[in-house]
């Protein structure tokens, strides 16, 4: 009896709150930061939709998998290509309904579930005051002078670390293990995430760090510092995409579709460069901010589909571990 009463009260409370529809978007933690893309996306979308966009930030995929079909998410944003296989197998997602032809990516995009909203090339970023001639390939990096040291991220805990693992595997194939052995003397240490590694780089502990080709744009635009540059390898660079997707079981499907429409708009796309310090997924080069247009780009992009990545990952990880644990 009492329970019915409480349930009734809760229901009526929800009914009052539900006058403004709510779009719940699961996003990685950096969306919650006032320095990240979250606030401008929220403001921009709420202007169009007459709704309340609420970011729920944290570990997106583990949370979604734990919640299953009972999830409160309507849309997710910020998944990476390395986990899409796991995500797709959950069956929780609906088609994104956008035109992949409108994307301006370095690879042909054929996925109709996961929609890229920004991307970058995985790259080694170096300090020009400490390195005169940066290596122009993986081979040159391994053969670099003894004082050229790098910090990388662990492929077991970091997505950029995993991207490097796949990049090396794509370039070296069966020789990847030997390559890691030759690179080992260059690697000062391996960190859990990007922040620790990049902090060691900006603190001057190492002259070069694993990051993204667009990282220098932050220093150029926000700090007017041109001493941080990405080393461009002629092996080609691994492309790293961040994705948005619609949840099948959403209770506001129109809003979710409208959000994915919004992702493809110029408004959204032109916010990405200076909030997420990466390339937007559907914006012509000439519309990029000044600091981005001048960034060097590799001649070719390397990318494993989720099935290819899944097929090589375990073996590549074991090679990496064995080569660096010696």
């Amino acid at each position: 009896m009492k329970n019915t009463l409480i349930a009734g009260l809760l229901l009526s409370a929800t009914a009052v709150a539900a006058e403004t529809p709510v779009l719940t978007v699961y996003a990685p933690d950096y969306f919650g930061s006032e320095w990240g893309p979250g606030p401008s996306i929220e403001a921009g979308f709420e202007e169009r939709c007459g709704c309340d966009l609420q970011f729920a930030t944290g570990d997106v995929l583990p949370r979604l998998l734990l919640e299953g079909s009972r999830t409160e998410a309507d849309v997710i944003i910020g998944l990476n290509t390395d986990v899409t296989k796991k995500a797709r197998e959950s069956g929780l997602f609906a088609p994104h309904g956008q035109d992949n032809g409108a994307l301006t990516l370095p690879v042909a995009w054929e996925d109709d579930t996961f929609l890229p909203f920004n991307w970058s090339y995985v790259s080694f970023v170096y300090d020009t005051t400490k390195i005169d001639t940066p290596p122009a390939s993986f081979a040159e990096l391994a053969a670099a002078p003894d004082d050229l040291k790098i910090v990388i991220q662990d492929p077991r805990s970091s997505i950029s670390g995993l991207a490097l693992l796949l990049w090396v595997k794509a370039v070296y194939g069966d020789e990847a293990s030997a390559y890691w052995e030759s690179l080992a003397p260059r690697i000062v240490t391996v960190t859990r995430g990007w922040s620790e590694a990049y902090g060691m780089f900006t603190d001057g502990e190492v002259p070069m760090v694993l990051s993204f080709s667009t990282s220098p744009a932050y220093h150029i635009i926000a700090e007017e510092d041109t001493t941080k540059q990405a080393a461009i390898f002629d092996d080609g660079h691994y492309a790293f995409f961040e994705l948005a997707a619609k949840i099948e079981g959403t209770d506001v499907p129109e809003l979710a579709d409208q959000f994915l429409d919004y992702v493809m708009t110029k408004d959204f796309q032109s916010m990405i460069p200076t909030t997420n310090w990466s390339y937007p997924s559907a914006l012509a080069d000439e519309e990029l901010p000044e600091g981005f247009q001048s960034l060097p780009r590799p001649a070719s992009a390397i990318f494993y589909t989720e099935d290819e990545a899944a097929a090589v990952r375990d073996a590549a990880l074991e090679e990496w571990r064995a080569a660096l644990a010696q």
């Binding site: 699961y26 933690d29 950096y30 919650g32 930061s33 006032e34 320095w35 990240g36 609420q54 970011f55 729920a56 930030t57 944290g58 570990d59 995929l61 583990p62 949370r63 998998l65 734990l66 919640e67 009972r70 409160e72 390395d82 986990v83 796991k86 040291k149 662990d154 077991r156 805990s157 995993l162 080992a184 690697i187 000062v188 240490t189 391996v190 960190t191 859990r192 995430g193 990007w194 922040s195 620790e196 990049y198 902090g199 060691m200 900006t202 603190d203 001057g204 502990e205 190492v206 990282s215 932050y218 220093h219 926000a222 310090w277 074991e318 990496w320 571990r321 660096l324 644990a325």
Partner: protein, 521 residues
């Protein structure tokens, strides 16, 4: 000595044990329940287990061995600023991981102060990265804790005993054998165990200064299994391994611990007659200076960077600080309640209470933050939206994590109150709240102050457990700092880190000081 506990003491103690069991074994059970199969332990897992245990043993042993001369020197010397130094030496324990790592790198790294000095003197470069780095970092974090435990031990030796020893003409060796050695036998195993367990769940620190995949810990495997494979069964299995190691080491510690014999004193100021020699003064001074340099320079380097940024911190960081202070206050109140109820329960409740409390304390230290967070999420998701509970969950977990440390200082003190004053208070008919107010709380003031300080400081820090619980618009200070780092704002992050440490430290100082207003320590 075992007499039956009062009904309220018993109830509160049992409830506290139940809460800790839920947070540790309960969360593990929840994760295992959601698992869809286990693939067993592979070679990489065994490698991780071996590395984890070895580094934890070495880190704990070195921390405790270094803490003995340091605690001894601090216990028997008086100098201006001693109180402040003791408090400051505790600060590394509350540093956010990333701040501590960058601090250690700034001092011991390739371009660090030590190597710069060494280059001037023509010494070969020292290499931070490797197992030595892992141990160095863990000693940096845990030496303060070990010192604190042992210092409490030294200060608990009544002044009268030293006076008696002096009047009996004890020399240094006899002093050590009759007064200090029994105290160490009672304190060291507990301190060693606590630090071993803390190092058992290390992950980010071990990796960053470990130089590569050689430094793979169990916690990293759990993280990998969660994040990439979503293999809950294997993650739960690794968490069981952590608990098994914890149990094994706890049993050993239990066997080698010699229970302390309670001694009454009149709380006089300790005067030591065995410390006047020039050699002993020089040695103590050298130990204190070396420890201060080791612990304070890395902290000073990173925090100094934050000073110019303090004024420029955005409003959101200050709001985050307010949120964190709120969480810390709730967490502190909860930690005090838990720890005090457990301490009183063990003091009066006999062996079962002691055993259960010790076991829970050890499990809390060993529990994988990731498993705890996921398990809680699964448990809460059954009946409510966990997102709304992010901050309360943070407060509860932070309080639970403080309990084992608090018990180290609180439980012996509570036992001593029972042993020494129990019969007197019984004969005076003192009971209930009057007994609490007139006897227990005043006698426990010092460890209670320490407990409150530690709880407050620790809860300013942690963010690892609630990664699944979205905090929505409310961010805590460590989260704000981390977000600044991911947005490339390293200078502002340094400012936020300084604010975090100042607040943690301020709270610790305030409570700890409050606990010993009129004491000479």
């Amino acid at each position: 000595m075992a007499r039956s506990a009062g009904p309220i003491t018993g109830l509160a103690g049992a409830a506290s044990v139940a809460l800790l069991a839920l947070l540790t074994l309960g969360t593990l059970g929840a994760v295992a329940w959601r698992a869809e199969g286990v693939s067993g332990l592979g070679p990489a897992d065994w490698y991780a287990i071996r590395f984890t245990v070895l580094q934890a043993l070495a880190s704990a042993a070195i921390s405790v061995v270094c803490a003995i001369p340091l605690a001894r020197a601090l216990a028997r010397r008086r100098f201006p600023g001693r109180g402040l130094l003791i408090a400051l030496l505790g600060a590394p324990f509350i540093l956010p991981v990333i701040v501590a790592v960058l601090g250690l790198v700034a001092v011991f790294g390739r371009q660090g102060i030590v190597n710069d000095l060494g280059a001037v003197l023509g010494l070969p470069q020292i290499v931070l990265y490797g197992p030595q780095g892992v141990i160095l970092a863990h000693v940096f974090f845990n030496l303060p804790l070990a010192t604190r435990f042992l210092l409490q031990g030294w200060l608990a030796i009544p002044a009268e005993q030293f006076r008696l020893a002096a009047s009996l003409g004890f020399d240094g060796a006899s002093m050590r054998r009759h007064l200090e050695w029994p105290m160490l036998r009672a304190t060291v195993p507990g301190a060693f165990l606590a630090i071993f367990l803390i190092c058992l769940t290390s992950f980010a620190v071990a990796l960053a200064v470990g130089g590569g995949p050689r430094a793979t810990t169990i916690e990293l495997r759990i993280y990998e299994l969660f994040r990439f494979d979503f293999a809950l069964g294997d993650a739960a299995l690794m968490a069981c391994v952590q608990f098994a190691i914890c149990t094994g080491v706890a049993l050993v510690a239990l066997v080698v611990t010699v229970p302390k014999v309670s001694m009454a004193g009149l709380d006089g100021i300790v005067a030591r007659w065995d410390q006047r020699g020039r050699v002993s003064v020089t040695l103590d001074a050298a130990v204190i200076v070396a420890a201060a340099l080791f612990l304070l320079v890395p902290m000073g380097v990173v925090l100094a960077r934050g000073v110019p940024m303090m004024a420029a911190l955005p409003a959101s960081v200050w709001w985050a600080a307010v949120t964190s202070l709120g969480v810390a206050m709730v967490s502190t109140a909860l930690a005090l309640t838990l720890a005090l109820s457990l301490a009183l329960w063990t003091a009066r409740g006999g062996r079962v209470a002691v055993g259960l409390t010790e076991a829970m304390g050890a499990l809390v230290l060993t529990a994988s933050p990731l498993v705890m967070g996921t398990g809680l999420f699964i448990l809460l998701f059954g009946w409510t939206n966990p997102t709304a509970l992010a901050l309360p969950v943070t407060a509860v977990i932070n309080a639970a994590v403080t309990v084992p440390f608090a018990l180290r200082v609180l439980a012996p003190a509570a036992r001593e109150v029972e042993d020494v004053y129990g019969r007197l208070s019984a004969s005076l008919g003192l009971s209930g709240w009057a007994r609490m107010r007139l006897l227990v709380l005043p006698r426990l003031r010092r460890p209670l102050g320490f407990t409150a300080g530690l709880a407050a400081a620790l809860s300013m820090g942690d963010l690892g457990v609630i990664a699944l619980f979205s905090t929505g618009d409310t961010e805590t200070l460590p989260l704000a700092m981390y977000r600044l780092m991911t947005a490339y704002r390293t200078d502002m992050a340094a400012g936020a880190a300084l604010l975090l440490v100042l607040l943690s430290f301020g709270l610790f100082w305030l409570f700890d000081r409050g606990g010993r207003v009129d004491a000479d320590a």
